[in-house]
């Protein structure tokens, strides 16, 4: 039974890592044609693109945009989640927060596009951050509403009756108790923004080339090597964040 478990586990890990392995071979190999099992040559051209050129620029741009989106979505979601969870119309407000996920992001972005053109945010980094933030913010609200549970409210009220002000309750009790949830929400909203394609393409007007946009650009160009390298770069932070996130979640 234990051997079977190990085999299944190994198989699942292998399946999970297979795309990464394949992308690595595509990104670093040259002249890989059928029926060869292995590329003819290895090249670092695509790899060097990470540090300079278009891919490097996209990497920094994506990092910058996703960090902004994650910071603002987490901060606003934390506060709004508190408001919604204690509101008499909690159910209705929560349904509103689900709206961006119920309607397709692309459809919503098309609707928003008119507004963004009017306020001249199309083709700007700020426009992309704002558009992505709307989705990440909704996610953060949905994430934090259950966090602000009746028990958290009871703890908050207990601090008040012990003589603590709202600021003291936040500083000494609620904030320390929130750190794990804040960290998890930050990671997840970062990832939501990191892999966002449709909204970025529409609101960015093709001028804001984040990594997902660049991957499609290379795919359209039939530049498999660069597309594979950009995909690897796109995937790796997600893997790193998920690993860190999982470790902290287990620890906390």
């Amino acid at each position: 039974m234990r051997i079977l478990n190990k085999l299944v586990f190994g198989g699942l890990v292998g399946l999970g890592l297979l795309p990464l392995g394949l992308l690595t071979v595509w990104a670093l190999g040259e002249g890989w044609h059928f029926p060869h099992l292995w590329p003819k040559r290895w090249s670092s051209t695509a790899f060097l693109q990470i540090f300079s050129g278009k891919m490097g620029e996209s990497l920094w741009l994506s990092t910058w945009i996703s960090t902004c989106v994650a910071v603002f979505a987490t901060a606003f979601g934390y506060i709004t989640g508190h408001f919604v969870s204690h509101h008499p119309l909690k159910k209705w407000l929560l349904r509103l927060a689900y709206l961006p996920f119920v309607s397709s992001p692309v459809i919503l972005a098309t609707c928003l596009l008119f507004l963004f053109i009017k306020i001249q945010l199309v083709g700007t980094i700020l426009g992309v951050i704002l558009a992505q933030w709307m989705f990440a913010f909704s996610f953060a609200i949905v994430f934090f509403v259950p966090f602000w549970s009746p028990q958290m409210k009871a703890i908050e009220e207990l601090v008040y009756t012990l003589g603590g002000t709202a600021l003291q309750a936040m500083r000494h009790v609620l904030w320390p108790m929130s750190i794990a949830a804040l960290r998890m929400c930050f990671f997840q909203t970062f990832l939501i923004s990191w892999v966002q394609y449709g909204i970025t393409l529409m609101v960015g007007g093709g001028e804001i080339q984040t990594l997902p946009v660049l991957v499609y650009f290379y795919v359209n160009e039939a530049n498999i090597t660069f597309a594979a390298m950009a995909s690897l770069v796109l995937m790796l932070p997600a893997f790193i964040l998920m690993t860190v996130n999982r470790r902290h979640v287990w620890r906390d």
């Binding site: 207990l158 008040y160 009756t161």
Partner: protein, 243 residues
């Protein structure tokens, strides 16, 4: 000399939507008193405590503490600590810091904090648990730490909302005795609400019965026992039948 009146509640009412939760509640509490209010779930016990603590605004009525109407005062300055059914220890603080929490808020000197907290922790029988995290404690130990945290701020009135309900029978009995001793030592005035008849009888000096938002107070423990509605007589008859 008769103890002075600490709290006077007059015609306190509270409604949630169409439901009348509290109806013209009136009673008074003396210093050092322990009023036990018996009531079923949904009878309005918790709302009464929350109104007193300042966590829920009453629709009408007066709450006078030490001669001062406290209705407009925030919970922080009312001097009433409200303890829930769960101990609600802060998970990021150890037992010592949980008990010391109220003193830390008041920015009491470190030396004084250590002296007071260590003395109380000793009384609570938690001396060897002081540096443990709340999740390392048993249910009874958590509840003891919770009482310690509340008593150390020397509240004018302690509001207990079924504080022993989550404990098993044996631990509950120990906790009831411990609390009565602590309340005596710290001269604490207490308002306890419970659905547990036995707990009300063990803990209370004075008694009340809450039904559908109305409170009935009893002049003597005997009057509480003799009232059919409290269920004491039925309980006694049951156990006599068992014997």
């Amino acid at each position: 000399m008769a103890p002075s009146v600490l709290v006077v509640i007059q015609n306190l009412s509270k409604r949630f939507g169409n439901a009348m939760i509290l109806q013209d509640i009136s009673f008074s509490l003396h210093r050092g008193d322990l009023l036990a209010i018996l009531g079923r779930s949904g009878s309005g016990k918790t709302t009464l405590l929350k109104c007193l603590a300042g966590l829920e605004p009453p629709d009408s009525g007066q709450i006078v503490v030490d001669g001062q109407d406290v209705r407009r005062l925030k919970p922080q300055v009312r001097g009433m600590v409200y303890l829930y059914q769960e101990p609600l220890l802060f998970p990021h603080l150890n037992v010592f810091e949980n008990v010391a929490f109220g003193l830390r808020l008041k920015k009491i000197a470190e030396k004084e904090v250590k002296t007071q907290v260590n003395a109380l922790i000793e009384q609570l029988g938690l001396a060897d648990q002081a540096h443990k995290a709340p999740h390392q404690l048993s249910g009874g130990q958590k509840q003891r730490a919770s009482f310690g945290r509340a008593l150390l701020v020397k509240p004018r009135l302690l509001l207990l909302d079924e504080p022993f309900a989550s404990l098993d029978v044996e631990i509950r009995a120990q906790m009831q005795t411990l609390f009565l001793n602590l309340a005596k030592t710290y001269h604490t005035s207490t308002l306890l609400v419970t659905h547990d008849l036995k707990e009300a009888l063990i803990m209370g000096k004075r008694f009340g019965l809450m039904q559908n938002g109305s409170l009935k107070l009893y002049e003597t423990p005997q009057a509480f026992i003799q009232d059919e509605q409290t269920g004491v007589l039925r309980e006694m008859a049951f156990w006599q039948g068992q014997g």
